[in-house]
């Protein structure tokens, strides 16, 4: 077993940096802390927050990215959520969307359920898995300089899907709760994109 990298970045600051000057970015969040982090950075009609369906975030992002090839879709999720959808990385790799970016806020723990250590906390390297699957870019960042390079990269197109693991502290900032009505969140994003509500 390889040793786990311990994160030192603050998750709220990481998300706030990535969403600064977001322009046309569409954002899908994985359940738990990533949804709170994105909400804390400022609610936006271009956000779709998951409150359940663990493992769905990256794949909701894939469907959205395929439907809106002119927009960049950023998925913000946690290590536990992405680990539950591990097969989805293979599905995304072969679908090869150039406008999909997955950001995994990796604290090495399942924070929502009591901070038990997760697979990444025990040494599993999500970026290496995505890289082996064929992502165009799959890197782990551990410091501010790395975060700045991710912030720049998501504003550019790539040759395929990208996954960034950002190592963050195992902490639980005060919850910032987004709306939980799935129909509202769905219709809000669709209206934002100019689609009619049934």
């Amino acid at each position: 077993m390889v040793s786990a990298v311990i994160g030192s970045l603050e998750r709220r600051a990481v998300v706030a940096r990535l969403l600064r000057d977001r322009d046309g970015l569409l954002v899908v969040t994985g359940l738990g802390s990533p949804s709170y982090d994105v909400h804390a950075a400022g609610d936006h009609d271009g956000n779709f927050y998951l409150w359940g369906a663990m493992g769905a975030a990256a794949l909701v992002g894939l469907g959205l990215a395929q439907a809106k090839p002119d927009r960049t879709v950023m998925v913000v999720t946690g290590d536990g959520e992405q680990l539950m959808g591990l097969g989805g990385l293979a599905t995304i790799a072969i679908a090869a969307p150039v406008n999909l970016v997955i950001v995994v806020l990796d604290n090495g723990h399942d924070g929502e359920t009591g901070m038990q250590r997760s697979h990444t906390g025990l040494g599993i390297d999500l970026a290496a898995i995505a890289g082996a699957a064929g992502f165009a870019e799959a890197v782990t960042v551990t410091d501010r300089a790395g975060l700045e390079s991710v912030a720049r990269a998501i504003r550019e197109r790539a040759s395929g899907p990208r996954l960034y693991v950002v190592k963050v502290k195992a902490e639980s900032p005060p919850r910032s709760l987004p709306p939980r009505d799935g129909v509202h969140l769905k219709n809000r994003l669709r209206t934002h994109l100019g689609f009619a509500v049934a």
Binding site: G55, L62, G63, Q66, A67, T91, G182, K186, F195
Partner: protein, 184 residues
């Protein structure tokens, strides 16, 4: 009405059996389906081939069926209709993910080929075959069963209207009797 019945039989033998995969493809195209996701399946093989040859539809090969439920939700957020093809065993993989479709009232059209119910040779297919429709009902997905090719085409037409028009989560159950017995 005996003569009519004879005429029907004669007509059927002239045109051959209904090419239902091609008809389903036609119906789904009429409903402007733009994304299709699938797990390889013998019953759906021809429909999968038709979609894979269609450059106007994005097709996603899945590692497990629940991924398709999430992709369908994302597609709808981005304004596109989708269809998810799977075998009955895959329904069991989807249950928690279907909460996304039901609580968000996302249009969802699943076409499910049945195993474990008609002249099944493999006992391991039987438990999930028994559980397919009750499991879907339990999570809030409507099931519409079709036992003949002609009925299947009309059922998919109706299910597509329910899904995309009325924001419903619908699974069309394609009976194993319709698909024929797998040769071992």
């Amino acid at each position: 009405m005996r003569t009519i019945a004879i005429d029907d039989r004669a007509a059927a033998s002239e045109v051959g059996p209904l090419d239902w995969p091609k008809e389903l493809y036609r119906v789904l195209k009429q409903h402007e389906v733009r994304q299709m996701s699938y797990v390889p399946d013998a019953g759906h093989s021809r429909l999968i081939e038709l979609f894979l040859a269609d450059t106007d539809v994005v097709s996603n090969l899945l590692t497990t069926e629940e991924e398709g439920v999430a992709i369908a939700a994302g597609a709808w957020l981005g304004g596109q209709r989708s269809v998810l093809l799977m075998q009955s065993s895959g329904v069991g993989n989807c249950i928690n993910m279907l909460s996304l479709a039901t609580i968000g009232r996302f249009p969802l059209l699943m076409l499910v080929t049945m195993r474990g119910e008609w002249a099944e040779f493999n006992p391991w297919q039987v438990p999930m075959g028994l559980a397919t429709e009750p499991a879907l009902a339990a999570i809030g997905v409507r099931t519409l069963r079709a036992d003949t090719p002609a009925d299947l085409v009309e059922t998919v037409r109706s299910a597509a209207a329910l899904a995309y028009g009325a924001d419903q989560q619908v699974a069309v159950i394609i009976s194993q009797r319709l698909l024929g017995t797998k040769q071992w």
